[in-house]
Amino acid sequence: MIARNEQPNLADSFQHRSLRARLSVRMDDLLSANIAKPAPMEKKQDWRIRNILAPTDFSPSSVEAVMQAAALARRYGALLTILHVIDINPPSARTHVGPADELMRQQLATGRAELNRLSESLAQQQTRTQARIIEGIPAEVIIENSSRFDLLVINEERPGSAWSLFSEHTVQRVIEEAACPLLVVHPRTEPENA
């Protein structure tokens, strides 16, 4: 440390300059050099949207995401796969009275009927569509299957409470772990509040 009323000796002066130089370099680091100039990446083949996956639980927001995925499928001439997962641990199990098999059969029948209705509606709009129904944990099934697609379309609700940070909802898990490019769309009626 250099006292104000003393002439610094050569060693102090050297240390002082050295400290200033170090500070100057650190400032440069913070402002400009902390990101290295990017090296050119290896060129790969262009991305093409040929297969689109749209999972749905038939809620209005997920059906809307399917419709938006269908519009993209028509634009790019892609095949749209609508996926419905029969939840093996459904919320309705807590209030269901009767055998578990019966509940699963009910879910399967409802799922098939809804998928048929959605597929027929999209077929009328000239969309190449296929429907799949799989039993499992929704997030895990969607993530496992996503690797075979060029694009996954999912609808996300706007932010809720801060506690959602610690929860593992299906949509959040898919957003975090999907194995293919993921298009997150929002409800169309939502006002712009960003």
Binding site: L31, W47, E156, L182
Partner: protein, 168 residues
């Protein structure tokens, strides 16, 4: 990829747009670039979507300046930093987008997620394409991904990409 005059937003909302209308808004895809591999991957995906349409790709780099240094006189260094970042962005745009896709360069200062959302709202962009960095779960709890924050708050659809997503 089929040629189309419709914007990405118009496709998603299925809003008819007159084919030759000069008043129709040019499609804009916003790509935040931090010069990482994942952001270059995002830029390549944006190019694939932009090809064949009247589309402009906006490359945005956000300079994060630590709070305590805001009070110091660093204007000259900031200018040099912005110029350097703009040059890098232009170089990247030339290399990755070529002459087929229109590019716009933006360098801003602040928090990345805030500045990305601000620009997206100001320019009413049709799509944000963003690459994500891998993070370990405990750190993810403490601070959500910029990309995840964008997916929640963006005024438009968001295409999220992992660095590992190979272009097929």
């Amino acid at each position: 990829m089929q040629k189309s005059n419709c914007t990405f937003a118009a496709v998603l909302t299925e809003t008819p747009i007159p084919k030759e209308s000069p008043a129709s808004k040019q499609e804009e895809i916003l790509v935040p670039v931090d010069f990482s591999e994942s952001s270059v991957t995002a830029l390549r995906h944006a190019r694939a979507l932009a090809e064949g349409g009247r589309t402009q790709v906006i490359l945005l780099n956000v300079v994060e300046v630590p709070g305590p240094f805001r009070t110091l006189d660093v204007a000259g260094q900031q200018r040099a930093c912005y110029t350097q970042r703009a040059e890098w962005l232009q170089e990247l745009a030339d290399r990755e987008l070529g002459s087929q896709v229109a590019a716009r360069i933006e360098v801003r200062e602040g928090r990345p997620s805030v500045e990305i959302l601000r620009l997206a709202s100001q320019r009413r962009v049709d799509l944000i394409v963003v690459g994500r960095h891998e993070r370990h779960r405990p750190r993810r709890w403490l601070r959500a991904h910029t990309a995840t924050q964008l997916s929640k708050k963006a005024p438009c659809p968001v295409l999220l990409l992992q660095a590992a997503h190979h272009l097929n």
